[in-house]
Amino acid sequence: MEPVLAIFVGLLFTTAIYLMTSRHTIRILMGVAVLGNGVNLLIFTSGRLTRDVPPIIPAGLDAPLIPIANPLPQALILTAIVISFSFFAFLLVLGFRAYQELATDDSRDMRLAEPADDPLPPLGY
């Protein structure tokens, strides 16, 4: 099953990178969201796949009897999902505010910090 997911992960990354190379903040945002999924699935698949058996110890036992899904990547991903969501929201608001302030969603028009016609710095001392 891993090879199929490997291809799916590759497609997630392809989509994410293509969207993020756009000039428009909305597409960049979507790219970031897809990238998060790609990374999470990458970690998940690296921890190997086990069908249907969640990492829960059955009642009355001290340790699982049958092979269970790897809990370690799951723990990593769970927090990653929540954190990437909060940063997604932050980027979203940032893009929205940039649109309100600069009246554009085209990153090439956002030259406040790095003006296009930046003059040569002074040559004196």
């Binding site: 829960i56 929540v82 929201a89």
Partner: protein, 139 residues
């Protein structure tokens, strides 16, 4: 979005979701669930209520500012970790007690309080974001 049916159902739906979120939170240690998921469910409940009835009723209903709830969550998590120091074991070591309340043995632990802290942090932050964005929608 604000159809009559939605507006009528939303408070009940939100209430149900919050109760469910607490259930998910508390069973989290032994069954699927936990603070992160519970918090997200509760935050969704706030978001739904906000979309249906406007943000002001939600803010009245939860009384505290959501960011305060989030901060409380972080502090609760930290305090739950600090407790272990007073017993002479390293930071964040889980401590358990089993008091019997009304004839039922209830397992209580610092770990549980830590998870509740996570729950509050998530519900506060995500709820706060959702409400703030909805608020701008109304202006």
């Amino acid at each position: 979005m604000r159809t009559l049916i939605f507006r009528t159902v939303a408070p009940y739906l939100s209430t149900l979701m919050i109760v469910f979120s607490i259930f998910v939170l508390l069973r989290g240690h032994n069954e699927p669930g936990g603070g992160f998921i519970g918090g997200l469910i509760a935050a969704s409940a706030l978001a739904i209520y906000g979309i249906a009835s406007g943000v002001a009723p939600v803010r009245r209903a939860i009384y505290f500012h959501p960011m305060n709830i989030a901060a409380f969550g972080v502090v609760l998590g930290a305090v739950a970790g600090v407790v272990s120091i007073f017993v002479g074991v390293p930071f964040m070591t889980g401590l358990w007690i089993y008091p019997v309340i009304f004839g039922v043995e209830v397992p209580l632990s610092t770990v549980l309080f830590f998870d509740i802290g996570v729950y509050f942090a998530v519900v506060g932050t995500i709820g706060s974001i959702a409400l703030a964005l909805e608020e701008r929608d109304e202006i």
